[in-house]
Structure formats: C-alpha cells, structure tokens
Amino acid sequence: MTDRPDPQEMMARLEQMQREAEATMRKYEELRAEMGADAVEAYSEDGLVRVRLDADGKVAEIHIDESAMRQRQSLGRVVHAVIDEAVATHAVKMADMAQALVGDKIDVMALMNEHMPPEMRERARDNLGRRD
C-alpha cells in the first residue's frame, strides 16, 4: 500500500554500512602498518640534505650536513627540492595504499600520474624502493 521503508530494514542497512566502513578502516590500518607509513625520506643528490616526513606527510625533520652550509647560493633551493621529492614519495605511497584499498574499482595510480611528472614519480619510486 505504501512505499515507506521498513525501519528494521533501514537499521540493518545502516549496520551493514557501519560494518563495511569499519572493515575498510581495519584494512587501512593493516596496510599502513605493513607499508611503514611513518617513514618517508628523501635525500639531495649529494646526500647532504635529508628530509623526513611524518605519517600525515608533513615535514618532521630536515637534516643538513655541515659541509652543505657552504652552498650559500643554492642551499634554499636544494632543501625545497628535497621537500618536494619527499612529498611526492609520500603521495606515491598513499596512492599505493588507496589502490590496495579500492582494488580495481578506481585506477588511483592513473589519477595520480596525471598530476605528477614522470621523472618525479620515478625518484619517488626509487625512494620507496631504497627504504624497502
């Protein structure tokens, strides 16, 4: 007679959605532990500047070797470039995790590739490989 939804059915559907959301969060935490989301690092080409990001992708530490302090003209630019590379590394790692979470429903890597130059992607992959 009426199309009014059955409250019990709605409640069951909500509970199902909550279970699915919790399963996704559990999988996310497992992936995060497995992939070592806490440590993303990048180095300058000469290895004198190192940048470490925290799990949220924010700059946690910048280590500058004393011998790099002589590069007065270029040090700021080098630090900036290493931060960019560390951020790209974190983005690639997050994209890997997102891809593992959504499976083949969405091509996360293709979306990321649209926004990251190939050479930066390659360096980010190298950084992840070095850590592994």
């Binding site: 969060m25 924010k58 530490e61 910048i62 500058i64 070797d65 040090l75 700021g76 630090v79």
Partner: protein
C-alpha cells in the same frame, strides 16, 4: 537569498583557496617561507644569518618556520572563507589530517 548563504558558490571557495598564501620569517630573520594551502611551499629563502648557524640548527629552524607558515595559511584561509561565506570554518578543518576513526562497533559494546 538564505539558500545562497547556506550553499556558497564552490567557485568562490576554490578561488579563495587558490589565492591563499602566508609569508613567515623566523625570529632571527635567517629563514623566510612563503606557504600556500594544503602544505604547499612556494618559496624558501635563506638569508645571510642562516649561514652563521649549524646545519642541525638551520634544519630545525626551517621546520619550525614551515609549520608556522602553514598554520598561518590555515588560520587566514579559515577566517577568509568564514567571512565570505558565513560558514563557521576552523583552521583545523583545513589541516588535511586523517580524522580519528573513533571506537569501533565492537569497542563500543
């Protein structure tokens, strides 16, 4: 009119975010940083004072100034969006951190 106030033009917010920028200089003037939204870094400028410091000190000062610049962008952007749209936006809403998932269903029982 009320509806317009409740649902601000997404283009306006997009423009405000794109234009957001903050410049912060460390106390000793050694490090100047221009930051954009979402953790973006537009400029890192090391002044003469920076090279009188040790590498360790300078690294720490850059991190400190970066954090201050990003916090300033979030604070200014939240204030601007709130003013322009009437929405109550806090700087933390723009930080982009992962939300706390809270206790699971099992933990709640």
């Amino acid at each position: 009119m009320d509806q317009q106030r409740k649902f601000p033009d997404p283009g306006t917010i997009q423009r405000l975010v794109a234009e957001a920028e903050a410049e912060v200089t460390s106390e000793n003037s050694a490090v100047r940083i221009v930051a954009g939204p979402g953790g973006q870094i537009k400029e890192i400028d090391l002044r003469l004072e920076a090279f009188g410091m040790s590498g360790v000190e300078l690294g720490e000062m850059i991190v400190e100034t970066l954090n201050a610049a990003h916090a300033e962008v979030e604070r200014e952007l939240a204030a601007t969006i709130s003013r322009e749209t009437g929405l109550a936006i806090a700087p933390e809403d723009l930080s982009g951190d992962m939300p706390d998932a809270g206790p699971s269903q099992e933990e709640q029982r």
